[in-house]
Amino acid sequence: MSDHPTGDHLPATVEEPIANPGLPAHTWRPTDVDPKAERRAERQVASLFGASAVFTVLFAVSYFTFEVGENWDTFMGLGASNVFLGLTLGLALLCIGAGIIQWARKLMADEELVEYRHPARSSDEDREGTLQALSAGLEESGIGRRPLIRNSLLGAVGLLGVPAIVLLRDLGPLPQDTANAATGGGLRHTLWGVRPNVRVVRDVVGTPIRPSDLIIGDLVNAVPDGLFDLHGRELQVAKSKGPVIVVKMEPREIKSGGNWAVEGILAFSKICTHVGCPISLYERTTHHVLCPCHQSTFDLADSAKVVFGPAHRPLPQLPLGVDEEGFLVATSDFTEPVGPSFWERER
């Protein structure tokens, strides 16, 4: 390809076997030759701009006319204010856009220009000059001759990465520092373990549950007693670890996990062991629960083993008992971390 006139930075062979006929001749548009067409196009463009101005005024009118808030669903099932603001703003913008483009297509010069390209590479002289300047600069700095200075500088600057990382340390506590069995803190504790025999209470209403309240096939969402005394951050954290699903089934249908059951009632963590969504869909005939996020399916009659989907671990089971007043309680905390797996989980 070195025979190419402009050097070897370009492919050379595109102009065979048919010779380049060259740019076609420019053809005039009706608006170029017919003054009437030209004036018509001019009027078109100006009317589009005029229409835009009208829509802008309508936008302001809509802003002050339509209330938001109470009567927000008054038009096509959508807020009237929203519909009219969107339409008027949109049309105001579209008219300007259409007008400008029409102007460019019909009235601005449409003769194509030709511009020549140049290789991205600089000329040999420039490269030479740059290299010389560079080596002169480096030479004068003495960076090559004084490795002691160079290396100590590199070391010092490199070490400045340390403050940048150290400064981030207080973003949060270390996982092990939050571990606290007495408050249910950390990755391995929940509110179920803060004292012996924490009652299993219904989600939302907070009432305790007697085994006899449940019939076969029931599923109840429950939380540890005391959760509703918490607020803010503590409440949110407790809610992300504590919830359980309580189910009742025929004791003979329980394949495993029955030693932590009370009268066929079992409790499992509601937090999916995959990435932590709350499990929700229960099929009472098969005792399967399905996680709505990625469809992991667990068999509650068989220690909540994974029967389908991307989760690896069974849902942790909560050991159940009954207190002296006859209410369901947890005899201990979960015996493993709830929720998604993590690196040091088995340690």
Binding site: P21, E70, L85, G97, A109, E115, P119, G172, R233, V275
Partner: protein, 574 residues
Amino acid sequence: MSIDTSKVADSNRGTAATTAKPAKVGAVANWADERLGLGTAMKKNLRKVFPDHWSFMLGEIALWSFVVLLLTGVFLTLWFVPSMGEIEYHGSYDPLRGVGMSEAMASTLHLSFDVRGGLLMRQMHHWAAMIFIASMMVHMMRVYFTGAFRKPRELNWVIGCLLLFLGTVEGFTGYSLPDDLLSGTGVRAADGFMKASPVVGSYMSFFLFGGEFPGESIIPRLYTIHVLLIPGLILALIAAHMLLLVYHKHTQWPGPGRTEENVVGYPMLPVYMAKAGGFFFIVFGVIAVMGGLLTLNPVWKFGPYDPTKVTAGSQPDWYMGWPDGLLRIIPGWESVIFGYTISWNILLPVLVMPIVMLIVLILLPFIEAWITGDKREHHLLQRPRNAPTRTAVMVALMTFYGLSWIAGGNDIIAIKLHLSINQITYFLRGAVFIGPIIAFIITRRWCISLQRHDREKLLHGYETGIIMRSPEGAYSERHLPISDTAAYTLTARERETVYSPESDTDANGVAAPGTRLNRLRSRLSTLMYADNVQKPTAAEIEEAHHHAEHDAPALPAGKSGHGTNGEDFKGIHH
């Protein structure tokens, strides 16, 4: 066309229109130039030439939707409160009045129901985000399919890949801000992803959330990332992208007068500026109409985030769908090695695959350049069919993406089509591997047959659809030669040579170092080029036309020309 040019409108005259107020404009220009010295740069760039093609608008859509994101985003910051502090909602939306929620959620509701135009801006912001990411993707495919990423534009390809990645992360952080049930579910999953990272997983989670999930810090932190950090990076990368575009000058389609050495089109001032500027208003306007008419992310229907609640069919925004799909269909693999847990089921689909995909995309131009050994600049675009292997690679990647994305909606598909979710999952597990291979083979073959069709047209003309009956009673279709312009455009492509390692062997036949690599390179080069149909030579065209003249007036049917067809053509460039 002969024309009385005296009637021609002023705009096409060679001389500049006389300025109406030379004094004023000149004075301003003079004031600015004496301080900024822009005259020199402006002289070159004001009339810079931009070629025109509909597909060059795709990048513009991305650019303009980013501008819309900036404008609407700033509006949202005026009311949005990035705080997880808990308050009771007392705004105008009845069903949630009295409900406890974070200030972030309450301010999003306030924006939606009590600020006039607030809902419009929220919806425009979200629609613009979707259009931004979608147009970047389509723009990237255009660049790839046409070979516009080749030297000297590889760096702009890399910048584009980074922009797509950053845009996706930006979208995810924005989606999380309102702190509604859906976005909280997404953040919860992100916490699970982080915890699955080897060694540092739980530390990362505790640092980002300021303690245990969900903590009180994640929304303010995501907010800073969303309104400052990532937009800043995106802005800087867009600026670099545009500068390089101007420096390299735009690529163009080959055609009469359009060569590797020139660029043909309209000048920046006025035509290109008007068209691009007008197009900004069109993009903005379309987004405004969408924001007005199409409800998006109605957070008030989902309610505030509560870690104990979830809605069925919960889905991230569409651009996060493909890793989510892989996450759904991967089997539940997890191993414990020396007491440490490695969750392959999370690690592979959401932490490894997106990064691998990004790296593969970034490397595509460099891999191709290595295989072809091509170190020349390319300014003419290629039709996808003329690079069958390249086209097939992208179609294979798109097939992988599409199947993964479908997997992200497996529950919805199961419900809509009454299929079993298990069957869909098992099917997709195989399909994400086999689908791309099939797509690759079909696309490559298809491109080659289109090339053959082009060659046929060059040699024997186009099919007129007129059926001729010969005196012997045989039927044939009449072909007519294509125009010179069309013929030139079809042949404005290179002849390709397959790389062979022999050329790297020294005179005594001793293999040069790195020969195994070279053999791989030669095999890939064969895959890339050997089956392609090359354009006919002048002699072949001559012969075909000669042949045709003999059978005149009716040109013979294409069948008679098969001897010179691409089938046995590949021999000549081995």
